[in-house]
């Protein structure tokens, strides 16, 4: 097994200087993916719940979705997709030895992440303003199906939003690591792993957007 891991280090990294330091980039990346699988199952469970309730309350889900603004959801989709691109570019820049470029792309990724949260904030506060929130006056008087729709909407986009916040923390941590010279063109896998997490956040939004906003 250790022999196997060693060959993989040679195959998968640009590490040519770390002859004596034990480093398993392959295992590191595999560990990240295993964690991402648990995330997929976590959100997968919520999507199953969505499917079940959507079948039961189909017309009410359409009614609820009409309250959401498509353009805001679409804008957030574009913001997240773009942040995914800048994330990849940050990794590519680092692999190519362009540390300044990598830092710049990483900062823009964090910027887009904040952009996503700001749009989400306006979206939620607009709903809150109209009393459409968990326990909100207006929502309590709506039919059961619409309540369920917004219950799912808030829990799923909320959990996703939490992931965005964690992602910002993770990317900021990576930014500091690059600035400190701990993550380098020869040792870029930590940045790749942080990138994997960020892409997962994007991936989940790709499904959340049509399921909640495009229900007409």
């Amino acid at each position: 097994m250790s022999n196997n891991a060693n060959t993989h280090i040679l195959e998968h990294t640009d590490s040519h200087s770390s002859g004596h330091v034990h480093r398993d980039d392959y295992g590191s990346k595999m560990g990240m993916w295993l964690f991402l699988f648990t995330e997929l199952l976590l959100f997968g469970g919520l999507f199953v719940l969505y499917m079940a309730y959507r079948t039961e309350y189909f017309t009410f889900f359409q009614l609820g979705a009409k309250e959401l603004k498509i353009w805001m959801g679409a804008l957030n989709t574009i913001v997240l997709l773009t942040s995914s691109l800048t994330m990849v570019l940050s990794i590519v820049a680092l692999q190519r030895g362009n540390i300044k470029g990598s830092i710049a792309w990483l900062i823009s990724t964090i910027g887009f992440a904040f952009g996503f949260l700001i749009i989400k904030y306006f979206e939620w506060s607009d709903k809150f303003h109209h009393g459409i929130m968990p326990g909100g006056e207006e929502l309590l008087n709506m039919p059961q199906g619409v309540k369920v729709f917004f219950g799912l909407y808030y829990s799923m986009t909320g959990l996703h939003g939490l992931h965005v916040i964690i992602g910002i923390g993770l990317l900021t941590f990576m930014l500091i690591r690059i600035l400190l010279g701990k993550v380098t063109p020869d040792k870029f896998v930590p940045l790749e792993n942080a990138g994997l997490y960020w892409h997962l956040v994007d991936l989940i939004w790709i499904f959340l957007f049509p399921l909640f906003y495009l229900l007409h």
Binding site: N6, T7, H8, L10, E11, H12, T13, D14, S15, H16, S17, G19, Y26, K29, M30, W33, L34, F37, L40, L41, G44, G45, F47, V48, M51, A52, T55, E56, I70, A74, T77, I78, L81, T82, S84, L85, M87, V88, L89, I91, V92, Q95, R96, E192, G195, L196, H199, L200, D202, L203, I206, F207, F209, P210, L211, L214, L215, H216
Partner: protein, 102 residues
């Protein structure tokens, strides 16, 4: 795969990191987003959901393969990913049977 090469490790990274391909993928993803919003405007009945999910699946395939680099990873990563997707599918289908035929 000899142990003694020190600088060959870089060459072993065959899929040279490039900016261009990722920008291409991004353009495709943005186009698909516009498409999915446009299709949602047309009333396709039950097909609306199918179309939306199909586009979402295509988009996620691009993200996973290119942005998340799975296309260039070891077979083991791909096998694991397919297993997880299979588990999700099984849970979804079994629940669907319960929900639809209740």
């Amino acid at each position: 795969m000899a142990e003694h090469h020190s600088n060959d490790g870089r060459i072993a990274h065959a899929h040279a990191p490039s900016y261009g391909i990722n920008i291409m993928i991004w353009l495709i993803l943005i186009s698909l987003t516009v498409l999915t919003v446009a299709i949602a405007g047309i009333d396709l009945g039950r097909l609306t959901l199918v179309a939306a999910l199909l586009i979402a699946a295509i988009k996620s395939a691009f993200v996973i393969n290119y942005f998340m680099h799975i296309k260039f990873e070891d077979l083991l990563f791909k096998v694991f990913l397919w297993l997880v997707l299979l588990v999700l599918l099984i849970i979804l289908v079994l629940t669907a049977f319960d929900v639809f035929y209740r």
